[in-house]
Subunit: 182 residues, 2 copies
DNA sequence: GTCAGATCTGACCGATCGGACAGTTATTGT
DNA sequence: ACAATAACTGTCCGATCGGTCAGATCTGAC
């Protein structure tokens, strides 16, 4: 055994995330993952009860981050809530770029998943915070637009340094929402 | 035969588009399509040489629309090009909502496809037109943001009438780009 | 050394996939 | 009426999928 034993689990998660992000969940087989990791397919199922369990564990941190943002937002109102929602979502999307890619590719597969059950409601609150509770056409549409803009830009690989990407995403989102960038 | 014979082909395409949009290309089997259409799996392969051929035919109109927009844009410059790019892309995305959904879900599957080979270059030109050729961070990021915002909003089902959706998408995109809505 | 338990694997399984093909049924021109 | 062609299907096939399992191999405590 060349590799320290306990490291294999982490390698599996990392390789799986890479493959899921580039080929999609359904487009990646356990054989593919095993090949990249350099172990047998059976080893994957020694550490994880199923392929879906790998996906669930990969998406858990992002889900927790989203939950934390939701909690932070519940104590804010008005302009403060808007700015916190935008910056919080941008930071989350940038921190979990590969996860966002997976999420967007396999929404149908993941929609029914219990671990992700709370996500739609949280995203709905997040969007509401961005448009300050507006339920008019403008508010609904722009909230969707910001979510899409930030997600797609983070998932794609724009040739821009992370710091610049962050400020431009925040400024762009605020512009979309009709607010003056600070 | 209850159904007029020549109609089957069209029914296959329509049902396949629905299924691809909701479950993804890889998440939809030929058996699934046949069941929805109400014919045998073999019939699908009588009208189409392969599953991929169905997908290719479904995406062709959207690809042609994108090509037409590209041609229209090549004759414009400056503000006119920006507005034409934004409105043209919004109209395209709204006209081909289900196709956009399929495209976003299965980018990895479709990236290497020959029929879609010209798309990345066209999209690059479209984004360039939106930001008036800017290659700075702001331009690159906002171009991505607009593409993502419009695509995701059209793919999702925002409870807003089409007319309102169109004007809000165009206005929102122009705001993102830092331009005054007309 | 040796034994127990954790780690890892080859071989196998049933299900499902996209696709091939011979053959049946309906339609049409004459 | 009757071929000829188009439309359609049941059945089979090899490949690949996620997952199981008995056993091989490694590791650390004593």
């Amino acid at each position: 055994m060349a590799r320290p034993a306990s490291a294999l689990r982490g390698h599996i998660l990392d390789s799986a995330l890479d493959l899921f992000a580039t080929r999609g969940y359904k487009g990646t087989s356990l054989h593919d993952i095993a090949q990249v990791v350099g172990c047998s397919k059976a080893s994957l199922l020694y550490y994880f009860v199923s392929k879906e369990a790998i996906l669930a564990e990969l998406l858990t941190p992002a889900g927790e981050g989203l939950g934390a943002l939701d909690a932070r937002l519940s104590g804010l109102e008005g302009d403060q809530a808007v700015e916190a929602a935008v910056t919080g979502f941008v930071d989350l999307a940038m921190r979990f770029r590969r996860e966002v890619k997976v999420l967007f590719q396999d929404i149908p597969v993941l929609a029914g998943h219990p671990a992700l059950g709370a996500v739609p409601a949280i995203v709905a609150r997040l969007m509401a915070a961005m448009v300050d509770g507006s339920t008019e056409s403008r508010g609904l549409v722009t909230a969707y637009m910001v979510i899409g803009a930030v997600s797609v830009t983070c998932a794609g690989d724009v040739p821009v340094p992370d710091e610049d990407l962050r400020t431009e995403l925040i400024d762009g989102a605020l512009r979309t929402l009709g607010r003056e960038p600070r």
